[in-house]
Each structure stands twice: as C-alpha cells, then as structure tokens.
Amino acid sequence: MIPAKERVFGLNIIIVGAGKVGYTLAEQLSREDHNLTVVDTSEDMSRRVSDALDVISIRGNGVTVSALEEAGAAQADLLIAATDLDEVNMVCCLTAKNLGTKYTIARIRNPEYLENLGYFKRDMGIGMIINPERATAREIARLLRFPSAANIESFCRGRVELMGFRVQEGDFLVGKPLHAQADKLKKLSMLLCAAERGDDLIIPNGFFVPQADDTLYAIGQPAALDQFFHTLGRYTHKAKSVFVVGGGRISVYLAKLLEKMHVKLKLVEQDEERCRTLSELLPGAMVICGDGTDQEVLDSESLTASDAFVALTDRDEDNLIISLYAAQQGMGKVIAKCNRQNYASIARSCGLDSVISPKQITAAQILHLVRGMENSQGSVMHALYRIANDKAEALEFTVSKNTHHLGVALKDLKLKCGILIAVIVRSDRVIIPDGSSCLQEGDSVIIVTRDHAILDLNDIFDAPGPVGG
C-alpha cells in the first residue's frame, strides 16, 4: 500500500453509512491522514468501525440535524453520503450543505434517477454523484471493447490508454531483458510502465526481464496498443455478443451501454418478476429466466456462442465459479464482479484476469476528488487510477507554470524512486518520453507511481528546482 505523505492537517470528512463502500472509503481516507467521522444508525457497525479504524464513530441517523452537528458538519470540508438508500443520501447532503459543509458527495444508484442528476446537483447542493454500478458498467463496457486487456484505464479523453495483460509462456517478451527487444518495442508509441510479479510491483527499466505469469501494464495511444497486441499475437476483436449472468443494476447499465455499441446481449436472471422488468427496460436484450449457476441453463442457451462472459450476480463466490467454468469452456473474454479483495487475488491466480470490484472503482473516484480538493492551488489532477491490486497509481496532471524544472531534459532530472513519467501529451501529440524529453507548460503528463501518494506534480521531483520556464 502507498504510505501517506506527511501532512499537518488532513481534510475534515464525514462519511454517512458504514456499509461496503462507506467502510472501504473510511479505511482508505483515514490511511491518507484525513480526519474522519463515520455516522451510522447501527450499533454494531459503529463499534466495528471505531474498533478497526482510526476514526470517530457516531451512532445516529445521518439525516438528522443533531447527528450531523455532532459529527461536525458545520466545519466539515466534505460529506460523503453512502447509505443504501438514495433518498436518505440526498436529504443527508441537503441538510449538511445547509449546516455549512463545503462539499457533498451522494451515492445515488437507482437508474430511474439518472435523468434528474442535473436537478439534484443544482437544487440539493450535491457536489458530486457517485454511482458505483454505473461506473462498474462503464468499466466492463471498456473491457469488452478491447478484450485483449485484463483491465483498461483511459487518460486525456481517450487519447491515451493504460492496459494490463498477463504474460504467457511463449510470448516473445519472456526471458529477455526489455532493451534486447528494442527493435520490436521502440517503434511503437507505447511503454511498459509497470509489472506485477506475485505480490511485488516493479517499475520496469531496460534490464527488466518479463516472466510468464507477470502482469504487465502498457500505456500509449490506443492504436499503438492495438499494434502491440497484434505483435504479441493476442489481439481479439471487440466482443459482438455478450453473455451476462445476474440481472442487477450493473447489468441494466451495462446493457444500455452495450446497446449503444451494437453488441448483442443475453442476460440470465433467476427471479421471474425481475426478468419481466428487465425485458421491459431492455428491449434489445434477450432475457432468460433461469439459474445462471446451473450448467444446464448455460449450455442450453449456448454459452460458447457468445464472445464474452460477464458474471454479475450478488454473490462473489458464484461469480468466480461460473466465470471459471466459462473460462474453461474456452470463452474469449471472461469478466467477474468480485467485491472481496482476497477472492480477487485467488481468482487471478486461477487465470481470471478481469476481476472488477465496484467498491474499489467508487473508492478510486472519491480518492481522486479528495486529493484534488487538497491540492486546489497546484497543478490540476485530472485522473487517478489504482492499478495492480492497488499497489500502484497512475495519475494525469496538467503542467502549470508553477511546476518545477520546466524545460529540463529528463535525463538531467532526479525523480523520486519508484516514479515514472510514462506519457507526455503535448497539444494532441502523444509523446513517449526519452532522456531528451522535457516538460513544458500546458502539457498533460501521466505519472505511474509505486510508493508515493502524489498530490501535486512537484511531488515527483527529488529536489525542488526553479519555478517557471
């Protein structure tokens, strides 16, 4: 995990609701040295939170003025409402905003509220709306568009993408240091920016030797990455038909996205009443009523005729088991939803590359926002993704005139250990930096970091330098 940078004051943050998302957030934000207060109605939850985390835990209803005042809503910088009920979250944000909280975030998940989001932001004082299910669906859709990768993040409005993939026995990369492969890699506008081997994370240099079962992260222009996967012999086309098990909210969001991508969808759901609703919501999808964990159902609906398989039931265990079955049947792309961290790593060791966790996607979204709030003066952070099981972060900054060492060639710069300047985007041109490249004002820079929580672009330099170019 990334140790927090030393700071005198963190932000005052209130989290209402200590459920899955609330707890994860409390855990991560407290680790980054913020002052957290967690409000929950349940006695048990409150005790669990105060026992396990270094936070204040208040038992009370987050929509009441008294509970919010007790939690210090008047002085708080941020309130995150993450209870199970959308409406409670809204009222909570509204109340807190009126009490004087600077910024509020509400978790709103009901697809029917989707069209009202603008009103909520304007009239209810909600600064940001997070929808874990929708974000997860987007993530899955991105993976389906490019099935070669185990995970994908995009920067600079899609101009740069970061993809993870697992090295297999027999890939041309295996066993040779990267500098020996320069002829194959150099001409592509891409970079291998991180490698995960077992529990270690390595920022590769020219002497790094990839081994089978490493997970490598490649960053660069989408076209270059396509080219790379072609060279690797791992290129697969965009999925044209997808088989989804589980008809929850993620599936609905996903189906809507896939419909726009003209991807055929088969959806298996157990509950008949839910099936009717799904069929009503998703006219383009084929809704099948049956138990998705039953092989009979999967086979009779010709599972293998689809290009990709997505497991989105409520139970992590079911998702992983049926995903393993689908992978065993030789399906090109298998994606499983799994909220539990420990299961995810087991799944990866069994060969399921694409395991996604809605909880973590949400946490990353909020973390990005919190870091941005802390650093409102410096260079602007546009994106933050956590990769390789949270062992590394990839961040996008804009270089401002306050950035140090402008115009200095990178080979002359001393960066902190474990930090890589992966990509520079200068007026729409994607540059993979070498020793002679330099930073200029207005550039977008993508940084990959292993050991540091980066708030500002200047944090990457080992020694401060002259400001301005």
Binding site: C275, S279, E280, P283, M286, I288, G290, S300, E301
Partner: protein, 478 residues
C-alpha cells in the same frame, strides 16, 4: 344487473335519437317531401324514451351495466332508426329496413337497395346521417350532451368505442366526449366544404362527408362516388377516410401540441405503412388495365383507403381487377382501421400486437426460458390484454364463419358467402362477387339478412357487449 339504471339510460338515448332525426326532417321539408315518416318515428321514440328516462334509479354502475346497456341500446337503435325507412314505404320488407338501418349505424354501408337514386332525399339524408351518428357512437354523444352526474359513464364509452385499450383523454368523461365530438364535427365540416369547393352540390357533399366521417359507405348515387368522375373529390374523400381511421386520441395530442408523441405511435405508423404498401402493390397490379400511372394511383389509392378504413365507397369495381388485388382488399378488410377511430375491422392495434406475439412465440420455442414483454408505444402490454386480443380474434373468425355457414344456404358462390359475412363483421360494405362494389345484398334471403345485420352490430361493438346480452347471468338481478 341494475336494470332501472339501464332502462333510464336507454330512455335518455332514445330521446337523443329522436332529436337526431330533426336535420333529416328539415331536409325532407326543404325539398318539399313528406315529413311524416320522421314525425311518426320521433313521436314513437319520445313516447317510449320519456317515461323510461323518468325512472328512478340507483347510481350503481359497473362494467357489466356498461356492456349490457351498450348492447341493448345498439339493438334498439337499429329497431327505432329503421322506423323512418318503414314509414316511407320505399322498402320491401321490415327485414330490409332493419338491414339498411343496422348497416347505417354500424357504418357498414352494405345496402339492399338496387336503385338508390329513386329514394326521397330526406330518407337518403337520414341513411347517411346514421353513419355519422354510429361512427363516433350514440353513447358518446349522449354523455357529451346530457350530464351523467356521479355516474361512471366511462363504462359506457369503453364498451362502445373500438379497440383493445381505452384511453381517457381528460379526467371527466363528459369533457372527453365533447372533445371527441368536437374533433369529429370539425373534420366532417372541413370535408363538406372541400367537397363543395371541388364542385359537388351541397347535398351530395354532406352525404359523402357523413359517409366518410363514419367510415360508412352509403352514397346517394348508384355508382357511389365514382358517379361524379371527379378526381379531386375522390382524393379528398380518400384522405379524409384515412384521417377518420386514425385514433382520435391522436388529434387530441395534436391539439395539445404533442405532435411528436403522435408520430411515435406504433399503431399509426403500422396503419400508414400498411396503406402505403397496399397502394403500391395494387397500383402495380392494376397497371395493365389503366395504362397510366396517375389512373392506377387514383383508383388504387382510393380503393385501398376505402377498404382499410372500412368505408366501402367505390370509384372502380375491383371485381374487374386481378385476383391478387382482390385478395389484398380482403386482407385489408380484415385488418381494418386504428383503435379509437370510427373504422371497423379487427383493428391495427390488435393485428400489430398479434404479430408481435407470434414473433415472441417463435423466439420462445428457440429459447424456452427467455422472458420478454410486448410493448406498444414503448409501454408494456399486460399479458391479459394479449390473451383477450387472441380470444377476440378467434371469436371474430368463428362468428364470421358461422354467419357464412347460414348465408351459404342461399347457395351463392363460396366467395360471396364468406366475403359477405366478413364484410359485415368488419363494417366495410362491399365484398366479392355478388356483393362486390357494384353489387348489393338485395338477393339474400331474410334469414341471411338478419344474420348479417347481427354480424354488423357484433362487429361494431367488438363482439362482447352483444354476447353479454345473451348471458343468463347478466339478466339476474343483483
């Protein structure tokens, strides 16, 4: 069954019916004909209607009362509406009078008259005016004119207006009825004016406007609209019968400035697509006969709109056309107009939903566990609506075939017997062979005429209100 209420409403409707004879009486007097047939009929109607409408009643009204009342009233309307025909002495028998009158009210337009032009103008006016009344419905008119305070009048309208689903336009039924009639009268007036402008006499314009407004088909000329040889009039009528076969709720949307919602209607699009395809096919098919694109379109378009709207006016005899065109006509006749319009037939909405059900059924065979709902205009259609549509369609054909069986006793050709039953059931008018556009129903026996009259009423009210009358349970007091 709340009989007092049923009879009370019946009484009021009969009085309204008496009032609707006034324009015909005026026309008769204007042309110097005897007003006696209308005066007698009105006196009888008032004599029966007034005491009935004075009956004290309880305000308990449910769907069964609605269905029962509508069924009863439509039967009585035919009886009393035929009185002017009977008193005029121009008809051969009471059965003929009844047939003509039911054909008028149900907007069928099938006639037993061989020489229409010989009839007095007042009687011909009443004959066309029954189309106008029957098109939108007499009960809709009654609810628009008389206040039914505290009564659930929508049960009446529901039973009378055609289509699988009934849509309330406004919260109050009286307002809805007034708006419906307002649109109806406005469109009819517009058509009359346009017909007058292209050269038809006032009287003829009115008759044909009534005839197309109700999508009926009675004309005051033996050769129907074709007698004028006026292409402009034909096109006007063709366009207006299409307008009258559209769900009137669409015009309401249009008036509210929601034209977008109107264009999204699945049924409307299906209806116009069907009309366009049929017109093209028929026009191509009859090209060898007319040898000119314009003539083919003129006759093809008019005949297609006339049949799909279930009007039945004619400008050309399609019995002289290739069989392919004749079969298309029969298919259009079965399909009919949109729900909530003045047209008849099975209705486009039902046909569309049946087609969708069939597609779903096939899908269900391939994927037995597949769950899918059927939507119309983006809204889910409940399963029981789909079931009743299937039942309706089966009953429709069953009754048609049974009627054809009785008619076949007259020993006309197969096409004649079957098409006569279907055309009466769909409220179109012309069928094939003997009952084709240039023929008429005069040759049938009294039995056949009675059965066909019954078919017309059953078809107009969409079967169940009439069947309720024959249910023993309905006659029990509650």
């Amino acid at each position: 069954m709340n009989f007092k209420l049923v009879f009370n409403i019946t009484g009021r409707v009969l009085m309204i019916l008496a009032a609707t004879m006034l324009p015909s009486l005026a026309v008769a007097l204007y042309y110097g004909e005897s007003g006696a047939p209308f005066l007698y009929a009105m006196l009888i109607l008032l004599a029966i209607g007034f005491p009935l409408s004075r009956l004290p009643y309880e305000k308990k009204m449910f769907a069964r009362e609605g269905f029962f009342t509508v069924g009863l009233i439509w039967l009585l309307m035919g009886l009393f509406g035929s009185l002017p025909f009977y008193f005029s002495g121009c008809f051969n028998s009471i059965v003929d009078c009844l047939f003509e009158c039911y054909s008028g009210f149900t907007t069928t337009g099938a006639t037993i008259l061989t020489n229409i032009e010989a009839l007095p103008r007042g009687i011909l006016f009443w004959r066309a005016f029954t189309h106008f009344l029957g098109g939108m419905g007499v009960l809709v008119l009654t609810t628009a004119l008389l206040p039914f305070m505290g009564l659930r009048a929508h049960f009446l309208i529901q039973a009378e207006s055609p289509g699988p689903v009934f849509s309330k336009l406004l919260p109050r039924q009286a307002q809805t009825s007034k708006i419906l009639y307002g649109i109806y009268v406005a469109l009819t007036a517009m058509e009359t004016l346009l017909l007058r402008l292209v050269g038809l006499p006032w009287y003829d314009s009115l008759i044909h406007a009534f005839s197309s407004a109700g999508t009926g088909g009675f004309s005051n000329r033996n050769a129907s609209l074709g007698a004028y040889g006026n292409p402009a009039a034909e096109m006007i009528v063709a366009v207006f019968v299409l307008l009258f076969s559209v769900n009137f709720a669409m015009y309401f949307l249009l008036l509210c400035g929601r034209a977008k919602d109107m264009l999204k209607s699945d049924e409307l699009r299906f209806f116009f697509a069907l009309t366009a395809i049929a017109t093209v096919l028929v026009s191509i098919n009859i090209f060898p006969i007319y040898q000119s694109v314009w003539q083919c379109f003129r006759y093809g378009f008019f005949q297609v709109t006339s049949i799909i709207s279930t009007t039945g006016l004619a400008t050309a005899d399609y019995m002289t056309w290739p069989v392919f065109s004749q079969v298309i006509m029969m298919l259009l006749l079965l399909c009919g107009a949109c729900a909530g319009s003045t047209g008849g037939g099975i209705k486009c909405a039902r046909v569309l939903l049946s087609l969708k059900s069939i597609v779903r059924e096939i899908r269900q065979i391939i994927h037995p566990r597949c769950v899918s709902v059927i939507k119309l205009d983006g809204k889910v259609v409940p399963e029981n609506t789909l079931n009743s549509i299937a039942l309706f369609t089966v009953s429709y054909f069953l009754i048609s075939f049974l009627a054809a069986l009785v008619v076949s006793l007259d020993n006309f050709s197969f096409a004649t017997s079957l098409s006569a039953a279907l055309t009466c059931m769909s409220n179109v008018g012309p069928g094939l062979d003997v009952v084709g556009p240039s023929g008429n129903f005069a040759a049938f026996s009294d039995l056949s005429k009675t059965v066909l009259s019954a078919c017309m009423v059953i078809g107009r009210l969409e079967i169940f209100p009439i069947l309720v009358l024959f249910s023993r349970r309905a006659w029990r007091r509650t």
